[in-house]
């Protein structure tokens, strides 16, 4: 009776309060460094702002300009190509490697580490090394191999058609280690009783692969597809480093949207135009991610 009115909080409520007190730190941090700038970007995309002057509100002019900018359409096509080529190539390749690596017992850990190393390598260092790989003979190792086997030299980075796949290759290679490790974890998570049952029934290796392994790997595959799609659509480091000084060249053949955003913002100081592009990229990624998550939840 005497205590009535002084303690109104239950244990549950106290816990919730403490939970929020601790959560407040990351929440406030995220709101300030993530959400606020993100929302601000939407606002800036409707202005003309060169960073040093006043922001002038210009409505949707930046978006109209984007629609009429041939370079923007070129970088959009490039970005989609990075995703459309990079995603299936890397997923299939990673799966094949993981599938066989899973069956190898001899030096398994060592081999897995070898595949993982590229993922740990700095993109800038890798970009420069690959840039030298693509040089003509006598410097470039790829052309050296081609010539050795009697093929003609290829221009690689100096060709408007070959440059994009050439820039994409190290990106696929670098991401492979991560994808392989995730695939391996997924493969290990499949209960061995399924395989034993299949073997007793005399199922072929192909049937086991298509009817047990791949369907049960579905969550892993969807996860990798979502992560890798976002990764390829946001490709930047490799392109920036391999094509330094002719950024995204030749003739914009390799320029992805993130590089165009970077140039608009930090070379041209055209902040409104740059943020308008980030908004488009954000919407693109949001749409693709929601689509993929929806597909995942279906089953």
């Amino acid at each position: 009776m005497a205590d009535a009115g002084t303690t109104t909080l239950t244990l549950e409520q106290k816990r919730a309060i403490w939970a929020w007190v601790f959560l407040a730190v990351p929440v406030i941090f995220y709101v300030i460094i993530r959400f606020y700038p993100t929302l601000n970007a939407f606002v800036i995309s409707f202005t003309d702002w060169n960073l040093v002057g006043e922001r002038t509100f210009i409505g949707i002019e930046n978006y109209v300009r984007l629609a009429q900018d041939p370079v923007f359409w070129k970088v959009m096509v490039n970005t989609v190509l990075y995703g459309v080529i990079g995603l299936p190539v890397s997923i299939v390749f990673a799966f094949v490697v993981a599938y066989y690596l899973d069956q190898v017992r001899f030096m398994h850990g060592f081999l897995r580490a070898l595949y993982f190393i590229p993922f740990l390598t700095t993109a800038a260092a890798m970009g420069w090394v690959w840039r030298w790989f693509y040089q003509p003979v006598p410097v470039g190792v790829f052309n050296l191999i081609l010539v050795e086997f009697g093929f003609g030299q290829q221009p690689f980075l100096r060709s408007t058609t070959q440059a994009l796949p050439a820039v994409l290759a190290p990106a696929v290679w670098a991401g492979l280690g991560f994808q392989i490790v995730i695939f391996l974890a997924g493969l290990r998570a499949i209960p061995s009783s399924y395989y034993e049952a299949a073997k007793i029934d005399g199922a072929s290796a192909w049937r086991i692969l298509t009817e047990i392994t791949i369907p049960l790997l579905r969550p892993t595959i969807v996860f990798l597809v979502v992560i890798s799609t976002i990764g390829f659509l946001r490709i930047f480091d490799q392109v920036f480093n391999i094509t330094t000084q002719g950024e995204g060249g030749p003739l914009n053949a390799t320029k992805p949207i993130v590089l165009y955003i970077y140039e608009s913002a930090f070379d041209s100081f055209d902040m409104g135009y740059a943020t308008a592009q980030t908004v488009i990229l954000f919407l693109m990624l949001l749409f693709i991610t929601l689509l993929q998550l929806w597909y995942l939840r279906q089953k």
């Binding site: 060169n50 040089q135 003509p136 410097v139 003739l251 100081f269």
Partner: protein
């Protein structure tokens, strides 16, 4: 708050003086900002030390940032009343800074226009807007031809005589080019790197040498889309397509190829001297850019010092004093000796010791006939020249068409900047 503290301290000092203690009067503090570059930092520190010794009532704080974030930080700081009182900025940024009211004109009594125009190299006049100067450089940079003396000897050329004309340049470059039996490039005769300094060479040197003007006098109209512009790019592209004295991206870029001793000649700026001097085994010499039909031109760029709108009252006075100090001839000589950039005043540059210096001499001679491009977006304008050459060399486009496309693109850039 700070100001109040300042008054309070000076009050205290005044009281202390009345009591008879010998203390210096409160020093005015000003801030100087530039980007981080070893030699520049040393040079300014040395100048600040001298300045403070001469002006004990002024204290200069020197702050520097990595180049990548420099512009952003300056832009964010000044409007909030924080940043520098005297700021170093690239000459091409002046318009944007001035329009954003980050800079105030230099006081005419300390920096009379007539004196600037009489004493400084003519390209500095680009800092004059409606009769008022907004910035002054300590140092300027120009281009020159670097050649590898060892490779000259190997090719049977006189290592002390560089090509004097464009025709000779081609002839020498061809002799210096080495390929193996399958035609693979082993050594470039002349580096071709539009992303390096070549775009300046094309724009301000070649176009003029073929009888054109790259831009109108006010810098707002592209004027190279004519016979001269076409001839200039034809000449430049012919080095690649017809004479094949190098390949774009050969050893990634011009300075790397030259540094590695795999290029006979390269065109680069005075700021490259330090890098080349530090390369063991590289023996080279420097000469003026080749002439064409007796005409020589050069390109000059520079960083200027301006006074920001943040500096007011006694700070503005102190800032002007400091700016005057770092742009006097003695400071320029110190800058040349420390950084390797050329004095911006003719009297400081054109002294025998500098003119006859085998390393600085050709650059200093080049200043006399140099022009500065009125850039609105250097990276984008450079890209236009890179694309022009790619259009010709990769797509087989005619020089005339490539120049027309470049001129149209660049005009769009200029128009959007000047808002017409």
């Amino acid at each position: 708050m700070r100001k109040h503290l300042g008054y309070m301290t000076s009050g205290a000092v005044g009281a202390a003086l009345m009591v008879g203690l010998a203390m210096p009067s409160q020093a005015v503090e000003i801030e100087y900002w530039q980007y981080t570059f070893g030699a520049r930092v040393d040079a300014i520190d040395a100048l600040i030390e001298q300045f403070e010794a001469e002006n004990p009532d002024i204290q200069v704080t020197h702050t520097n940032f990595p180049y990548a974030e420099y512009r952003t930080k300056v832009a964010a700081a000044i409007p909030s009343g924080e940043g520098p009182d005297v700021v170093q900025l690239f000459y091409g940024w002046l318009d944007a800074y001035r329009e954003a009211e980050l800079l105030v004109p230099l006081p005419g009594d300390v920096f009379p226009s007539s004196e600037i125009e009489g004493d400084f190299f003519p390209m500095v006049q680009a800092m004059n807007v409606d009769g008022e100067y907004y910035g002054l450089p300590t140092a300027v940079r120009s281009l020159a031809l670097f050649w590898n003396t060892k490779l000259f000897e190997e090719a049977g050329l006189d290592p002390s005589t560089p090509p004097q004309t464009l025709d000779e340049l081609v002839e020498f470059a061809k002799k210096l080019t080495k390929r193996d039996d399958n035609g693979n490039l082993l050594q470039a005769g002349l580096t071709i790197a539009p992303a390096g300094q070549d775009h300046h060479w094309w724009r301000e040197v070649l176009v003029r040498q073929f009888g054109g003007e790259p831009y109108s006098a006010d810098g707002r109209t592209v004027t190279y889309n004519d016979e001269a512009g076409v001839k200039a790019i034809e000449f430049y592209a012919s080095l690649l397509t017809e004479h094949q004295v190098s390949e774009i991206e050969f050893l990634t870029d011009g300075q790397t190829a030259f540094k590695a001793g795999k290029a006979g000649m390269t065109i680069d700026g005075s700021f490259r001297l330090n890098a080349f001097n530090g390369q063991r085994g590289l023996e080279y010499a420097i000469g003026e850019l080749p002439a064409h039909e007796g005409n020589r031109f050069n390109f000059s760029s520079y960083w200027v010092n301006g006074i920001t709108s943040k500096a007011d009252g006694e700070k503005r006075e102190a800032a002007a004093k400091f700016l005057a100090f770092i742009t006097q001839p003695e400071a320029m000589q110190l800058w040349l000796d420390t950084v390797g950039e050329l004095p911006a005043r003719t009297e400081a540059a054109l002294v025998p010791a500098n003119e006859d210096n085998p390393q600085f001499g050709p650059f200093i001679k080049g200043l006399a006939y140099a022009n500065s491009t009125h850039f609105v977006d250097e990276a984008a304008q450079r890209q236009i020249v890179i694309d022009m050459l790619d259009n010709i060399s990769l797509k087989g486009m005619s020089a005339a068409e490539a120049v027309a496309i470049a001129a149209e693109e660049e005009q769009k850039l200029l128009d959007s900047f000047y808002g017409s």
